[in-house]
Symmetry: C2
Subunit: 169 residues, 2 copies
Amino acid sequence: MSETASKKRSEKLGDKNDLRIKAIENGTVIDHITPGQALTVLNILRVSESFTNTVSVVMNAGGSRGDKDVVKIEGRELTEKEVDAISLISPKATVNIIRDFEVVQKRKINKPDTVCGIVKCINPNCITNSSEPIETRFIVTDDEKVKSLVLRCVFCESVMTEDLIKYIE
Amino acid sequence: MSETASKKRSEKLGDKNDLRIKAIENGTVIDHITPGQALTVLNILRVSESFTNTVSVVMNAGGSRGDKDVVKIEGRELTEKEVDAISLISPKATVNIIRDFEVVQKRKINKPDTVCGIVKCINPNCITNSSEPIETRFIVTDDEKVKSLVLRCVFCESVMTEDLIKYIE
């Protein structure tokens, strides 16, 4: 089998169910997602029923580093904003960009120093929750004690640490 | 490789990403889901971030019958109510029960004659939307003109045909 044919070969997904899905030609593989967070990643990427490209998801896969989720999405490369949003819910994820069946970029997600326009402020009286056209902005820090990211709103100083998922816009 | 080892062998999912997921030992494969509806199926099965078994999803897979979604879920067999709910959004789906790595049952989903406790009535004044402990019940028919299922509430005669997904409880 030629190199190209090998790359293009279908992959067996099912056990006795003969589902075969093509390898990604162009797109993104998000690997090492925190177990259970794959559906949140799909939400961040706005993948819904109207999305027509192939998407594969494995939740709670047994990888070499223990359980993880994986999302493969055809025909999409992620924006910086999307990567930042994923970092908030899945700080150990890696993002691999695929072009012409090759991994052209493989990178770990880094905790961003600030996140803008991604998370809604928990404070209903924050100016970002008013009718003013002001984008949210948070300073991101780690909190060793709670083993979680801490977001501090630059406008109202509100601190958010738990349930960040609920506030991702 | 022995038969058992063959059954138990891992499967390659990724292209150059070496994700391997185990074959399902016990669980359910829902195949031939209407393209895009896999996430609704996960909702129906209450699969969320707290679910700890392995779940694999492919959306818009190119199968022999054209595009379809597939959901594989470890350690779960579906209730009749869950199968009925799936039938409303994906009438061509098949449900395969896996036990000890074998497909022990493979069946097409049939349109149910009635659905009870699955869909919320569209009529806010329906008795099923009051504080009375009355389970919803709809007569299900096909409508050739709109090529869609039609649900008629047995209590208030309201007819529902579009956006059934929104009303699945």
